[in-house]
Amino acid sequence: MQNILEIESLRKYYGKNNSQTKALDGITFQVMQGEFLGIMGSSGSGKSTLLNCIATVIRPTGGRIVMQGEEIQHLKGDMLAQYRGQTIGYLFQNFELLDNLTGRENILLPLSLHSVPEAESDRRLEKLASYLEVVDVLDKFPSQMSGGQKQRIAAARALILDPAMILADEPTGALDSKNAKALMEKMTGLNREQKATILMVTHDCNAASYCKRILFIQDGVIFHELRRDIPRESQQAFYERILKVIAQLGGGSANVL
């Protein structure tokens, strides 16, 4: 399997000299094609900054982000828009659906941005909608949907252009446990069946237990890494391992493992 994303000593500093905050302080890791990678950390650890750097929402202070062999800091204008729209699919914590567009229109929005003929994607839309179980709400406005439906519509929107990688920022953050579970199952399914590469930031241990690998970040550096031993290790066992690391994280002690 090949690397799809390479992060090399990525740094992001806020502020100047004395009052400088190091949100990311030299992070290096790779994401393989078809991987389901989780990033965990307490709030302020820099996990959202990391995701935002990859999503080109913020510009890193130093280091390299290479997506499919291309360094994304150098992207500009149309190429950047292309990257945001087609190379990555972004799943927001707050869904970020346009509330004046119906579900279908929201999902098809990226198509009109990247002038993809609609007919071609209609099949994909059908497939995604039925897989994500949102066929019923396609013609409703976001205000008429439940949180879970909104997030699944958002997921369909992120997937409609078949991006190389899905970036998910706390996708279960605004969902109740039942909806969160349903969403995570769908995401695992996408990863397993359609070989979708997913990078998910979360601090929900339950959601994280669906991942194949988890990176723990603290104070801007990678602090620990967990790999689920598939298929020998059950999800429950993996979940318990995650909990242990999280407990250590809080104390910030060095004697993990």
Binding site: Y14, N52, I58, Y83, R84, L98, D99, L113, F141
Partner: protein
């Protein structure tokens, strides 16, 4: 700290809402202009000539002032409301941090006061300069000498402008900040909830008109739908205001155009109740005879029978019959009605009328025995009526004057026979001189027309020349009426109608545009999150600007197009309602002028749309800059 905050905030408000701020500036200028009307050169001149009418007009100014105050209040109220809505969150934070409500209230008042004073400081000098400029231009246009122009600042106008403006702003802000300061912190901190969405979009019919195949088509359409459906009342009001502005402006300019240059000016003076000899004698007594190039008689007398009777001296059955046979038209009916009363017309001697013809550079008319020409004062004639009448006159209709048969020949004559416009003849007959003596029995009114010697008035504007001559003539005891006085009367109508209509047009247009523009930009800022999502989905700056541009185009376009179409009918209605019958005939040409003016305002609207697009592009660019979001 408090004052620092106030000054920073009001500066930021000005920057973020430049469109609203510039509208305020324009309204200050308009306020001052109407208030300082009495200081305009033309008005100072008119006060000398037509003090009564000017007095009445100036009395109406407070009324307009009041009316504008009311209209502008709504503008300021709504625009300030948008501004406040946008800062709700900020207010909530102030309160959370322990700012007392009274202090927040005071802060808002102080902020507003500061920006109002800034607006006045910038606006008033512009207003004074502009009003001087308008004064000079109008004076030049009507031919008043500008040598005696004095720079004038109307202190009352400045005071009234400042007072009115501050009053409006403070009242609006008082109400709004009162409302804001009374709200719960929680409601302030939460973004104002968006209106619930309807299941079925109502505006499918124009969905198809937004160009297919463009990126973000659905998004553009939905944005527009939201704005149009939920703000339809604002749009409707704006459209009505635009309609009013277009009508006022187009009709006003066209009327000015029709008043000015409507007539040829040949005679400078008319001396009343004198003969040419008497006038010449008096003038030479005062050494003024060289000042005039022409002194000539013009007599008018009622046709009477040999017994001195006036009644039924004249019958024109054949003309009436020919008129009745004409295809039905308004002009024909007016003529039929007017002529049915013409049983005792006036007569004018041919030679004296011909002198006027020569002065006006028109061929003199010729009459043989038992022939007469029809004279109708320009006040009573119109293009259509003259046309109808000329058709009939071509056939030399037969008429009876005191029992004798005459034939009417020539076209209708309409040259002014005196300068005094209060002397008008709705129908008269031009007859050979001997016939005139015979028909009037030697009883007539004598007027003497004078034309100033062109060599003597060289280098002076005509109006100055006449003003000087008036002073000299006042000493001679001659009763006279000058072209200037009549011109003044006419000028008054022009100035009054143009000033008021154009003033109203500007006010209406400002309000309509500001309301639409500010509302659009505010809602764009409010829905900024959507644009950010689009960026995240890979929309380029260009795509979003295109989409916003199309939204603006439609958002402005709908009310504008409706207003423009309606205004064409509105102007037509205004013309037929307001114009004197004399000018009715010129409606087609005036409509053309109005159409040009409507187009001109269309251009203004276009420029405004451009400005709003620019502002919206700036908004979008701001959203493009990556931000840290936690």
């Amino acid at each position: 700290m408090f004052f620092k905050l106030v000054s920073r905030n009001s500066k930021r408000n000005r920057k973020e809402n430049g469109l609203f701020f510039s509208s305020l500036l324009i309204s200050i200028v308009a306020f001052y202009m109407i208030q300082s009307l009495s200081h305009q050169d033309v008005m100072i001149f008119l006060t000398k000539m037509e003090s009564d009418a000017v007095g009445k007009l100036l009395l109406m100014i407070p009324l307009f002032y009041g009316l504008t105050l009311i209209i502008l209040f709504f503008l300021i109220y709504f625009a300030s409301k948008f501004q406040m809505e946008r800062r709700r969150h900020e207010f909530g934070v102030y309160l959370m941090m322990g700012m007392r409500r009274s202090r927040l209230f005071l802060m808002l008042l102080a902020e507003d006061f500061r920006s109002s004073v800034t607006a006045l400081l910038i606006g008033l000098p512009i207003a004074v300069l502009l009003s001087e400029l308008v004064s000079l231009i109008t004076a030049r246009l009507v031919g008043l000498g500008i040598a005696d122009h004095r720079f004038s600042i109307s202190l009352t106008a400045i005071f009234m402008t400042a007072a009115g403006f501050l009053f409006l702003k403070l009242t609006a802000v008082l109400i709004l900040s009162g409302k804001i300061a009374r709200q719960e912190i929680g409601t302030l901190l939460v973004e104002a909830p968006e209106v619930g969405k309807k299941e079925k979009p109502l505006l499918f019919f124009f969905a198809g008109h937004i160009k297919k195949g463009k990126a973000l088509q659905t998004f553009t359409f939905r944005q527009l739908e939201e704005q149009v459906i939920y703000r339809f009342n604002t749009l409707a009001i704006s459209s009505l205001l635009m309609l009013a502005a277009l009508c006022c402006f187009a009709a006003g300019v066209a009327m000015v155009q029709s008043h000015s240059g409507s007539e040829q000016h040949t005679l400078d003076y008319t001396f009343i109740d004198h003969s040419a000899e008497e006038v010449s004698r008096t003038l030479s007594e005062y050494n003024l005879e060289t000042q005039f190039s022409e002194i000539m008689d013009i007599r008018v007398g009622l046709i009477r029978t040999e017994d001195g009777e006036y009644e039924n001296t004249f019958q024109m059955e054949s003309v009436m019959e020919a008129l009745r046979a004409m295809p039905e038209s308004e002009a024909r009916d007016v003529l039929l009605n007017n002529f049915s009363y013409e049983t005792a017309p006036y007569a004018i001697p041919l030679s004296e009328y011909n002198q006027i013809c020569v002065l006006s550079k028109q061929p003199p008319i010729e009459l043989k025995e038992a022939q007469a020409a029809v004279y109708i004062d320009p006040e009573f004639s119109s293009y259509e009526r003259n046309h109808i009448l000329n058709l009939i006159l071509k056939k030399y209709p037969e008429v009876r004057i005191d029992g004798a048969i005459y034939h009417l020949i020539n076209e209708v004559q309409t040259l002014r026979i005196v300068t005094d416009r209060s002397i008008t003849l709705s129908f008269a007959l031009i007859v050979p001189d001997d016939v005139f003596e015979e028909l009037t029995g030697g009883e007539y009114s004598g007027y003497v027309n004078g034309v100033l010697n062109p060599d003597k008035i060289k280098g002076k504007s005509l109006l100055n020349a006449i003003s000087e001559m008036n002073q000299k003539l006042d000493r001679t005891g001659l009763v006279y009426e000058s072209y200037l006085q009549n011109m003044g009367r006419q000028l008054f109508y022009v100035v009054a109608s143009s000033y008021i209509t154009i003033y109203l047009a500007i006010i209406f247009l400002i309000i309509a545009n500001t309301v639409i523009g500010v509302q659009f930009l505010m809602s764009q800022q409010k829905t900024g999150k959507r644009y950010q999502t689009l960026i995240q989905l890979g929309a380029t700056y260009q795509t979003m600007c295109d989409s916003a541009g199309r939204q603006i185009g439609w958002y402005f376009g709908i009310p504008t197009v409706v207003a423009v179409i309606s205004s064409i009918f509105g102007v037509r209605a205004l013309f037929s309602g307001l114009l004197s019958p004399r000018t009715q005939g010129r409606i087609p040409s005036m409509l053309l002028v109005s159409l040009a003016m409507i187009l001109l305002l269309g251009m203004v609207e276009y420029i405004y749309i451009k400005a709003v697009k620019k502002a919206s592009n700036r908004n979008i660019l701001k959203l493009m800059v990556p931000e840290r979001e936690e």
